[in-house]
């Protein structure tokens, strides 16, 4: 059974009524890594928000099935607890909320949702330290308030650490490479690769091909005008790198 099945998905901005997604079809099997590439304004980020359940978008047509469930029927927190993880393009700073409290609350919400026992502070600390170590990250970030005063690289690393702790079935990486220099990009990509396994799928959304040098996709899709215009293997990414998005937008990107 496919992990994610998007069929003819149409979505609009609630306030303006402007249609952004104009019929997306996408199927992801367990363990697969898919990349969606596309020019700015193609609807890539909207797709990630609609999947994660952000307010402000209205699905007007189509369906999304996640692990056998109707995803669109679930609240954002329920989607997360079902195993969908959105790594934010711009992780949000939350002053006054300690990272540890936040992450423990997140993990325990998921455990509770899935009928598992919640972890106490000590058990949680141990788990987080192990995860941080396996990603070769320090846990110093966790001593601060969520993302407050973090550099761009730290924020993205923090997303990966959260991903490692929450062990999602599907990771949606929204422009994870934006704002990162090559060293930070490599650290983040290494983290993502460490989390790749047969049961976990990834949807990597990016404007540039360079991230895909580090995270090798099984499938690449080109998105423009709110639709997937072309799908192929990783060679498609290289092709785009060479030719740009001109074939899909009618102008050079």
């Amino acid at each position: 059974m496919a992990l994610l099945e998007i069929k003819n998905l149409h979505a609009s901005l609630e306030e303006e009524g402007k249609e952004i997604l104009k019929g997306i079809d996408l199927t992801i099997q367990p363990g697969e890594v898919h990349a969606i590439m596309g020019p700015n304004g193609s609807g890539k980020s909207t797709l990630s928000y609609v999947l994660a359940g952000r307010d402000g978008y209205e699905v007007t047509e189509g369906s999304v099935t996640f692990d056998g469930k109707d995803l669109l029927d679930l609240e954002a927190d329920e989607r997360a607890n079902e195993g969908l993880f959105l790594a934010f393009q711009y992780p949000v700073e939350i002053p006054g909320v300690p990272s540890m409290t936040f992450l423990r609350e997140a993990l325990n919400s998921k455990r509770k949702y899935n009928g598992q026992e919640e972890l106490d502070a000590m058990q949680f600390l141990k788990l987080v330290r192990e995860k941080a170590k396996s990603l070769e990250m320090g846990d110093d970030m966790l001593k601060r308030a969520v993302n407050v005063g973090f550099s761009g690289g730290e924020k993205k690393r923090n997303e990966i650490l959260q991903m490692a702790v929450l062990e999602p079935k599907l990771c949606v990486l929204d422009e994870t490479d934006s704002g990162l220099d090559i060293d930070a990009l490599k650290i983040v990509a290494d983290g993502v690769n460490a989390l790749r396994d047969q049961g976990r799928s990834m949807l990597v959304i990016t404007h540039y091909q360079r991230l895909l040098n580090y995270i090798q996709p099984d499938h690449v899709h080109v998105m423009a005008y709110g639709k997937i215009q072309k799908s192929g293997g990783k060679e498609l990414a290289l092709e785009l790198e060479e030719k740009g998005y001109a074939d899909f937008t009618g102008k050079a990107a």
Binding site: D55, A76, A80, L86, V92, S109, K110, A145
Partner: protein
């Protein structure tokens, strides 16, 4: 509204009937002057500039009774007051409960005198404070309070004394009593002390207090207040603060009780190199009106004042913030900062903010600001996208917003105790939501 009818005001009668027994003649004149001033000023309504957002018109129609002649002894509601281990001074309906006051066991350097006794000292701190007419000039409620002072204490910290244990003044109100506590605090030169006030009770009473604080040169005084009155009660409090050279004065007020409350602090920074702070948190829910009004006068050069208030207004709760900084001509190099932040949790909630600067010196650094907002939608979505429910996410953000303010409290155990009250308030809010 000056008029002769004001002398017949039922409020004045309720307060006037409470006069202390055995007081000397000069004290009688003080209370008479208070009554006369109140009669002249009348009960403030929105037409009085200083009370524009907090009308007391409704108070005129409420019937209050004076407190019993002698002090009553009631149980202290431990879960409502600040949870700190301190030297306790208990007032019940504005009367000092002397049976709970163990004067023999006070630490060296701390002197506590029942107000009735302190009135007997000629030329003392108490007499000086009570006879100061500027303490009631243009201040109708302070005048009303003066007309019927019900009791209180004189707290004196000797020169150079360092009183580590907080002095905890617990005011308990009952029934429909109107009462007027009067505490006089004198912190001697180079002394250090902490006073915590807890205001609690049961019923629709009216607490109308005046506190005089004098901080002598180079003294450090921490002054914290928990206003956790009954939700039917009225609470009006005036604190007059006078700071000398190189003093540190640090005030924090946590307001969450009462139907209508006004916490007013008027301070004169009468020295240089003073570090002065008034901060607070207010949390209003259904049918509550919480007013914080401050006036800071910089009279001498080179002093610093900081003011940060944070409010959360839920349901149809209403908040008022009025802050004025006055910098006199000699007060060059004054550094003043003032900020009020309010978080509205409901469409029916309301905040009125009025920051004011009045500056006569030409070399000063003063700024003020006010913000009003709702919970941040981006932050909420981020938390929800990590599996945290809307309900829990909202409460996490409210708690973070409020707890952040506790950093302003310089005494850790008080910060912790006040943090518990914030948690209690949030737990009540969560219970309310769950029940809805």
């Amino acid at each position: 509204m000056p008029n002769d009818m004001a002398h017949d005001n039922p409020l004045l009668k309720a307060f006037g009937a409470a006069a202390l027994d055995g007081a000397p003649e000069w004290f009688g004149k003080v209370t008479e002057a208070g009554a006369a001033r109140f009669a002249e000023l009348g009960l403030p309504t929105n037409r009085t500039e200083a009370w524009k957002y907090t009308s007391l018109r409704s108070l005129g129609g409420v019937e209050f009774s004076p407190p019993a002649k002698g002090a009553e002894t009631v149980d202290i509601p431990r879960d409502r007051i600040a949870g700190i281990e301190g030297i306790e001074i208990v007032l019940v309906n504005g009367r000092l409960d002397e049976s709970r006051l163990d004067l023999d066991r006070l630490p060296a350097g701390l002197l506590v005198t029942p107000l009735a006794d302190a009135l007997q000292y000629k030329d003392g701190v108490t007499m000086h404070a009570l006879q100061d007419e500027s303490a009631i000039d243009g201040l109708p409620l302070a005048a009303l309070s003066t007309a019927g002072i019900t009791g209180g204490v004189l707290i004196e910290i000797a020169k150079d004394a360092d009183i580590a244990k907080p002095i905890h003044i617990i005011s308990i109100g009952t029934g429909n009593t109107a009462f007027a506590p009067r505490n006089v605090i004198w912190v001697g030169p180079n002394a250090k002390a902490t006073v915590v006030e807890s205001h609690v009770g049961e019923g629709g009473y009216f607490s109308n207090s005046v506190t005089h604080v004098t901080v002598e040169n180079e003294a450090v005084f921490h002054h914290y207040k928990l206003q956790n009155e009954s939700r039917e009660a009225y609470h009006v409090a005036m604190t007059h603060v006078l700071c000398g050279e190189k003093t540190v004065y640090d005030n924090f007020a946590l307001s969450c009780g009462a139907k209508l409350a006004r916490n007013e602090i008027r301070s004169k920074l009468d020295g240089s190199e003073i570090l002065y702070a008034v901060n607070g948190v207010y949390m209003a829910a259904a049918n509550q009106h919480l007013d914080n009004t401050t006036f800071i006068e910089h009279a001498k050069p080179n002093s610093e004042s900081r003011e940060i208030y944070k409010g959360v207004l839920d349901e149809n709760g209403r908040g008022v913030f009025q802050g004025k900084i006055l910098v006199q001509r000699p007060a060059q190099k004054t550094d003043g900062y003032q900020m009020n932040r309010a978080l509205l949790l409901s469409r029916k909630a309301e905040i009125d903010s009025k920051p004011e600067l009045e500056i006569y010196a030409d070399d000063v650094k003063c700024s003020h600001g006010a913000t009003v907002g709702e919970l941040d939608a981006e932050q909420l979505f981020y938390l929800k996208a990590r599996g945290i429910s809307e309900h829990d996410a909202r409460n996490m953000l409210i708690e973070a917003y409020l707890r952040d303010a506790l950093d302003e409290i310089r005494v850790d155990k008080v910060a912790r105790a006040f943090g518990e009250k914030i948690s209690d308030w949030l737990a009540e809010r969560i219970a309310r939501e769950d029940a809805a």
